[in-house]
Amino acid sequence: MHPNNTKKRQADFQVIARWVGEGERVLDLGCGRGILLEYLQQTKGVYGVGVDINFDGIRSCVKRGVPAYQGDAHQMLASFQDNAFDRVIFSRTVEQFEDPDATLQEGLRVGKRVTVGFVNHAYWKNRVHTAVFGRRILNEVYPQPWYASLPDNPFSVAEFEDYCKEKHIHIGNKVYLAGNWRDERKLLPNVLAGYAIYDLSR
């Protein structure tokens, strides 16, 4: 699901790394090949654990020296005690959970802080595309047609912030990235942000 462009694929790495403290315990749910955790190991000396359902991802993690667990994120979270990790990271994975609320709540139980990064579905280009063509957008971020995509539950910046408010989840830091997923944007995020990253806690 991640774009082919490396820079875009790793758009949230810099921001996440900024929020991660030295030597923290980090759990990355949907770790893929373990590139973020390897980066955090090298730059922050973290104890990082990756979780992914994909065998090839786990194999790459093993090669990188990143401890990794192949399995379901929600089930794996249940095996941990409260506050077992300093940070739980959901980088472009919340969209694919069966029960996003339950998994996020588990993340907030197991992690002292939770980082969520996601593609803003209400980004203006997405809106224009749907309004004009009446079809799902096909681009670098959504590379596959509907019939070749994993079940996906896209949401917007506004919807996510409503959710946090309703569930009394505290938003510490937040960063909105422009359509290029590089430059930070502050104005009208629900329209102008292509990607959003939140630092949450209870």
Partner: protein
């Protein structure tokens, strides 16, 4: 393809070739965890590859319940049957003997040359039979450690094993953290499920109710052959999977069946053959001792799984197989969940294969790549 390329291809993967078993004999009393002891310890083992000058490239392979120390190569050019993990162990193979010095021992309590209930007690000149002390996985591992002492290997690059071998591997990581560089445990678990114990006991009952068993005192050339064969047939079913058996045998018939209860289906023929050939190569009392050791193996005791695993320091890799219903993925996962709770370096991978518990013994390029990656990092 030019000549140089061909040479590379050939050298990429080779065979360990002709190998020879060796015997390690420690002529001091070996004390068992249960309190019993034997006057001397014997372990039969094989090695492949070369121990380097720093003596830090050794990998110990632990075999499964009815496996043995012969995991790679052949004993002579005439012999067609290779060691049980031949595709895994050899020059350029996942456990690369060009790089590592590989050791595989026949487990303590076994019957292929190591001290076990069928071996001769030097004090009496008779087989131990049931006088052999109660055996645990920890005893097996301690015996291997004595062999390593004798070979001058202080620290292993890795310990690797599947099933019972996986349990030994875990025990190594727990009991000798300073001697284990890393470990790979395949198709195993922290303890037997009720179902696994049930199958083992049914097998033991088949043996012990066979009149040939004679309370364990059968002569070397006879014994509870029927009970052993039935035990093996049943156990063998637990090593396969429903899907795997269906695709291998289905309802295929043999045409030779004459009488009502003759071998009719291919699966019957296969299992009866497995049962019969097992009798000739395995000792009934060893089977009883080893299965009992496995049933009693329990990393949740004495306190908790987390408490037991807290001693581990080495990075570990645990691999489960989706169709394994004897040591199901859940039991493998549980180990890694506990290790990660403790902040250890541990990974869990799961392979989708139809071969049931025996999946780890089957050619699987994905598994090779994973193990290679882990051993080399």
């Amino acid at each position: 393809m030019n000549d140089s390329e061909q040479a590379v291809t050939i050298s990429a993967e080779g065979e360990v070739g002709i190998v020879e078993a060796q015997d390690f004999v420690a002529r001091t009393r070996f004390e068992f965890e249960s309190g019993g002891s034997i006057p001397e310890l014997r372990l039969r083992y094989e090695t492949y590859g070369h121990l380097n000058a720093a003596r830090n490239n050794a990998i110990l392979i632990c075999h499964a319940l009815t496996g043995d120390h012969h995991c790679a190569g052949v004993y002579s050019m005439e012999e067609r049957k290779q060691g049980w993990w031949n595709f895994m162990v050899g020059p350029g193979k996942p456990i690369n003997t060009s790089e590592y010095f590989v050791i595989c021992t026949n487990a303590l309590g076994g019957c292929q040359g190591s001290s076990g209930p069928g071996s001769i007690n030097p004090e009496t000149g008779q087989p131990y039979h049931l006088d052999f002390p109660k055996l645990t996985v920890r005893d097996m591992v301690r015996a291997q450690a004595l062999l390593l002492d004798a070979l001058g290997i202080e620290r292993l690059h890795a310990v690797v094993g599947g099933s019972m071998g996986g349990m030994q591997t875990l025990q190594w990581a727990i009991d000798y953290p300073q001697r284990v560089g890393r470990y790979i445990a395949l198709a195993c678990g922290a303890r037997h499920t009720a179902q696994a114990i049930a199958f083992n006991d049914t097998g033991r009952q088949a043996i012990m109710t066979d009149p040939g068993w004679q309370l364990g005192n059968y002569p070397t050339d006879a014994g509870p052959v029927q009970g052993m064969a039935v035990a093996r047939m049943m156990a063998h079913i637990t090593y396969l999977s429903d899907v795997g058996m269906e695709s291998k045998f289905g309802r295929r018939r043999r045409c030779s069946a004459q009488e009502h209860f003759d071998v009719e289906f291919e699966v019957e023929s296969y299992l009866r053959y497995q049962g019969q050939s097992f009798v000739t190569r395995f000792d009934a009392n060893s089977y009883l001792y080893l299965t009992k050791a496995l049933d009693r193996f329990d990393l949740h005791s004495p306190e908790s799984l987390d408490a037991t695993l807290s001693a581990v320091t080495a990075p570990g890799l645990v691999v489960g197989f989706t169709s394994d219903w004897l040591y199901p993925p859940q039991g493998n996962r549980e180990l890694v969940e506990a290790l990660l709770r403790l902040g250890k370096d541990a990974s869990y991978a799961e392979l989708e294969m139809d071969y049931g518990h025996d999946s780890f013994l089957v050619r699987a390029p994905k598994l090779y790549q994973l193990m290679r990656n882990f051993l080399q990092r």
